[in-house]
C-alpha cells in the first residue's frame, strides 16, 4: 500500500467529478477520474489504483456492471456512489461486489472516512494463523487458503473473516460487525454485512447454500464454526 492512497473516481457528471476530485485531493488522496465505465476499466488496468469510487448511474455500462467486471479480476475495494440509501441500488450494488456505499449528496469528509476505513481493512494486525476445517487463515501473510489453494478475498471479506475467526463459535451481531469491519457508527446498514457474508460464503463454503463455517444465528447475527 502506497503512502498516499491512489483513488479512481468514475462519475459521469462533470460538476460532481470535479468537486469530488477537488475535495478528495484536499483530503490527501491522489485521484484519477473517468467519465464512463469503459474509461474507468481502462484506467484501472493501466494505473492500478488502491480503491475505486464508482457512481451507480453511468452512461453505457452502469456502475453495477463495472463493479462485476472489476471483481472478475481484482479484489480492490469499491465504494459506490448511490442516489438513495434504501432502494434497490444498494442491494444490487452490494451483490455486485461493492464494499461500501455512500449516498449523494455526500460530504467529502464522510467519503474520506469511508475510504480510509476500507483501506485499513487490508492492513496486517497480527502474525498468527488459524484453521477451520479445510480453511487456513494466515494472519501474517493476510492470505486465506482452502484445501491448500489461495482464495481471492477482497479486503472487506478478509477483514470480516478475520473478525469472525478471532472469536470462533461466538455470535457477532450485524451492528458489532459493522463497527469492527466497516467502522460505521450506530446507523450502519446491516445489508452490508448480509451481502458480504453471502460473498464470503460463496468463496469459503463447500456448499454456499448450506453453510457449515459461517453460520447464521437467528435474531443475532453470524458466527464462525469449525466443521465437526
Amino acid at each position: 500500500m502506497t503512502l498516499v492512497p491512489f483513488l479512481l473516481l468514475i462519475e459521469d457528471d462533470d460538476a460532481i467529478r470535479t468537486a469530488l476530485e477537488l475535495s478528495l485531493s484536499r483530503q490527501g488522496h491522489r485521484v484519477a477520474t473517468a467519465a464512463t465505465g469503459e474509461d474507468g476499466l481502462k484506467l484501472l488496468r493501466e494505473q492500478r489504483p488502491d480503491l475505486v469510487v464508482l457512481d451507480v448511474m453511468l452512461p453505457g455500462i452502469d456502475g453495477f456492471e463495472v463493479c462485476r467486471r472489476i471483481r472478475r479480476t481484482d479484489q480492490l475495494p469499491i465504494i459506490l456512489l448511490t442516489a438513495r440509501s434504501d432502494d434497490i441500488d444498494v442491494v444490487v450494488g452490494l451483490e455486485s461486489g461493492a464494499d461500501d456505499y455512500v449516498v449523494k449528496p455526500v460530504q467529502g469528509r464522510v467519503l474520506d472516512a469511508r475510504i480510509r476505513a476500507v483501506l485499513r481493512r487490508g492492513e496486517r494486525e497480527s502474525t498468527d494463523s488459524a484453521t477451520f476445517g479445510s480453511l487456513m487463515i494466515d494472519r501474517s501473510a493476510m492470505t486465506v487458503t482452502k484445501n491448500g489453494e489461495d482464495l481471492q478475498l477482497t479486503p472487506t471479506e478478509l477483514r470480516l473473516l478475520l473478525e469472525l475467526s478471532r472469536r470462533p463459535g461466538q455470535a457477532l451481531s450485524r451492528q458489532q460487525l459493522l463497527r469492527l469491519v466497516w467502522e460505521h457508527d450506530y446507523l450502519g446498514d446491516s445489508r452490508l454485512v448480509d451481502a458480504c457474508v453471502q460473498r464470503l460464503r460463496a468463496k469459503v463454503e463447500d456448499v454456499p447454500s448450506s453453510p457449515t463455517l459461517i453460520r447464521t444465528v437467528r435474531g443475532v447475527g453470524y458466527r464462525l464454526d469449525a466443521p465437526q
Binding site: 475535495s23 484536499r26 434504501d86 442491494v91 449523494k104 449528496p105 467529502g108 446491516s190 447454500s209 453453510p211
Partner: protein, 531 residues
C-alpha cells in the same frame, strides 16, 4: 368480520321489513276481498234459504187452513179441533199446528198437534194481535184477516211462527216450524266460506312472498353492488335486464359508478403526475447539490484563512447548502412515502443504545434527560428510528427548551415500544395540535421559526407508520410543555405491523426471518424479493 356480519344482519332485517310490509298489504287486500265476498254470499244465501223454507211452510199452512180448518163448524168441539190440528200437522211439512176456536160463545177451546212443544205461550203477543186484528175491507185489501209470521228463538233454536184466522168466526190457526236444519246448513256454509277466506289469506301471503322475492332480489344485488363500490371497487357494474323500474335503477347505478370511476382515475392521475414532478425535481436537484456540498466543504476548510469580509459569505453558502441538502433529502423521503416505495430495513437492536447514540451523535446529551433501560430489544429499522427520534427531540429542543425528557419503556402486553419525548416549553396551542404532523405547517408567528424543512414531524410520522406504529402529540396535563409519544411494535415484521409488512418484505434484507437457522441464503432471498 363482525362488522360485515352485523351489516348483513341489519340488511336482512331491512329486507324482512320490506318483505313484511308487502305481505301485510297483500294479506289485508285478500282479507278485505274475501270477507266482503263471503259476507255477501252468506247473506244472500241465508235470505234465499229462509225465504224458501218459510214460503213453502206458510203456503202449505194456508192450504191446510182452507181445506181443513175452514170446514170446521162455527163452534167446534175440543175433539173436532184436535182432529183437525192433527190432520193439518200430519203432512210432510214437519210443523206443529195450534188451533183456537169457541165451543160456545165465550168458551174458548184450543187444540195442538204437539201439546209438549207448541202452546199459545209460544206465540208472541204481537203476532197474536196482528192475526186477530180485523181490518177494514177496501180496494187494496180484499180480506179482513191476513196471514202473519215471525221468526223467534226458543231454547237457542230458531223457529218460524205463523198465524191466520178463518173469516166469519172460524178458528184461529198458528203454525210452528223449526228452522234448525236451515241454520245448520247456513253454519256449514259459513264454515266453508271461513275456510275459503283463510285459504285466500294464505295464498295471498305466498304470492306476496313471491312478489317480494322478485322485487327484492334486484334490490339486494343493487345493495351488494353499492357496497362494493363503497369499498373502492370502482369497476363494479350491474347486469341490466328488462325495461322495468329496477332495470332503470341498475342503469343509473352503472352510469354513476362509471363517472365515479372516471373521476377517481382522473384525480389519481393528476396526483400521480404532481407526485412524479416533485420526485423528479428533488432527484434533479441532487446532482448539483452533490457538487455544491463537496465544494462547500473545501471552502469551509479555508474559512480561517479568508478575508474577514468574505468569510461570513462562505459560511452562509456552506450552511445554506447544508440546509438545501436536508430539504431535498426530506422532499425525496416524502415522495418515497407517497409513492409507497419507502422500505423498512429491519434489524434487531437495543433501543436504549439507539436512543443514546442518536442523542450523542447530535451532541444533545447535555440537553436531554434520558430514561431508558438497556436490554429492550426491538426489531425495527434503526435508521428510521433515528430519523423519528432526531425529529421529535430536535423539535422539542427547538420549541420546548431543555431539559427534554426522553423515556423508553416497553408495553409488554401489546408487544409495543413506547418512547415519550416531553419538553417544558409553552406547549402546543390547541388549534395547532391536529396539524403538527402536517407538511410545511406553520404553527404560528409567535412560535420560533424552525430552521428545518417543515417536513420533520411529518416524516417522523410517516416513518412510524411504516413500522406499523404511530406518534401522538399532546400537551402535558400539568400544563408544562408538550408530550410526543411514539408507539412502535416490538417486532415490525410481525403481521400485526400491517403497513410495515410491505416495507419489511420489500426491504428483503432479513435472512433471519425465514428459512432454517443455518441454511439461510439471504442473498438468493433478497434477489427474489427485490424483483
Amino acid at each position: 368480520m363482525t362488522g360485515a356480519a352485523k351489516r348483513a344482519m341489519v340488511a336482512g332485517l331491512r329486507w324482512t321489513s320490506l318483505r313484511l310490509r308487502l305481505v301485510v298489504v297483500f294479506a289485508a287486500v285478500a282479507l278485505t276481498a274475501a270477507v266482503s265476498a263471503s259476507g255477501i254470499a252468506y247473506w244472500l244465501n241465508r235470505e234465499a234459504v229462509l225465504t224458501r223454507t218459510q214460503d213453502s211452510a206458510l203456503d202449505s199452512f194456508r192450504k191446510e187452513m182452507q181445506s181443513h180448518a175452514a170446514s170446521l163448524p162455527a163452534l167446534p168441539t175440543q175433539s173436532e179441533l184436535q182432529d183437525t190440528a192433527n190432520l193439518m200437522a200430519n203432512g210432510k211439512t214437519g210443523y206443529s199446528v195450534l188451533l183456537l176456536g169457541e165451543r160456545e160463545k165465550g168458551k174458548p177451546v184450543a187444540a195442538t198437534s204437539d201439546s209438549d212443544d207448541f202452546t199459545l205461550g209460544d206465540v208472541p203477543r204481537t203476532l197474536q194481535d196482528a192475526v186477530n186484528d180485523r181490518q177494514e175491507l177496501s180496494a187494496g185489501n180484499s180480506a179482513p184477516y191476513h196471514l202473519y209470521w215471525q221468526r223467534v228463538e226458543r231454547d237457542g233454536k230458531p223457529y218460524l211462527v205463523g198465524g191466520s184466522r178463518i173469516v166469519n168466526g172460524g178458528p184461529t190457526g198458528y203454525v210452528l216450524k223449526s228452522l234448525d236444519k236451515e241454520r245448520e246448513d247456513l253454519n256449514t256454509l259459513a264454515w266453508s266460506l271461513g275456510i275459503a277466506t283463510a285459504l285466500a289469506l294464505v295464498g295471498s301471503a305466498l304470492l306476496a312472498q313471491a312478489a317480494a322475492t322478485t322485487v327484492l332480489k334486484p334490490v339486494r344485488r343493487l345493495g351488494d353492488a353499492a357496497r362494493r363500490l363503497g369499498e373502492g371497487k370502482l369497476d363494479t357494474r350491474l347486469r341490466v335486464s328488462g325495461t322495468d323500474e329496477l332495470a332503470e335503477l341498475a342503469r343509473t347505478f352503472n352510469k354513476t359508478a362509471e363517472s365515479l370511476e372516471k373521476k377517481v382515475a382522473d384525480m389519481s392521475a393528476r396526483e400521480e403526475s404532481s407526485r412524479r414532478f416533485v420526485a423528479d425535481m428533488s432527484h434533479e436537484l441532487r446532482t448539483p447539490l452533490t457538487a455544491l456540498t463537496a465544494v462547500a466543504e473545501v471552502l469551509e476548510d479555508e474559512v480561517d484563512s479568508l478575508d474577514p469580509m468574505i468569510a461570513p459569505a462562505v459560511n452562509l453558502v456552506v450552511s445554506e447548502t447544508r440546509r438545501l441538502g436536508i430539504l431535498v433529502e426530506n422532499l425525496m423521503e416524502v415522495t418515497r412515502f407517497d409513492a409507497g416505495t419507502a422500505k423498512v430495513v429491519l434489524d434487531t437492536v437495543d433501543v436504549a443504545d439507539q436512543v443514546t447514540a442518536c442523542i450523542d451523535a447530535r451532541a444533545w446529551l447535555d440537553a436531554v434527560d434520558l430514561d431508558a433501560e438497556r436490554g429492550i430489544m426491538a426489531r425495527l429499522d434503526p435508521r428510521r428510528l433515528d430519523v423519528i427520534l432526531a425529529n421529535l427531540i430536535g423539535n422539542a429542543l427547538k420549541h420546548g427548551g431543555s431539559p427534554v425528557r426522553v423515556s423508553v419503556r416497553p408495553n409488554e402486553r401489546d408487544a409495543e415500544l413506547l418512547i415519550e419525548v416531553r419538553d417544558h416549553g409553552p406547549g402546543i396551542p390547541v388549534e395547532v395540535l391536529p396539524h403538527v404532523f402536517d407538511r410545511f405547517y406553520k404553527a404560528s408567528a409567535s412560535r420560533p421559526k424552525s430552521d428545518g424543512s417543515g417536513l420533520g414531524l411529518s416524516i417522523a410520522m410517516e416513518n412510524a407508520i411504516a413500522h406499523g406504529g404511530t406518534i401522538t402529540a399532546a400537551n402535558s396535563p400539568d400544563g408544562d410543555g408538550a408530550v410526543f409519544v411514539l408507539r412502535l411494535p416490538m417486532d415490525a415484521s410481525a403481521p400485526a405491523g400491517g403497513a410495515s409488512a410491505t416495507g419489511a418484505n420489500g426491504g428483503g434484507t432479513d435472512p433471519d426471518a425465514d428459512g432454517p437457522q443455518d441454511g439461510g441464503e439471504s442473498g438468493e432471498r433478497r434477489e427474489g424479493s427485490a424483483e
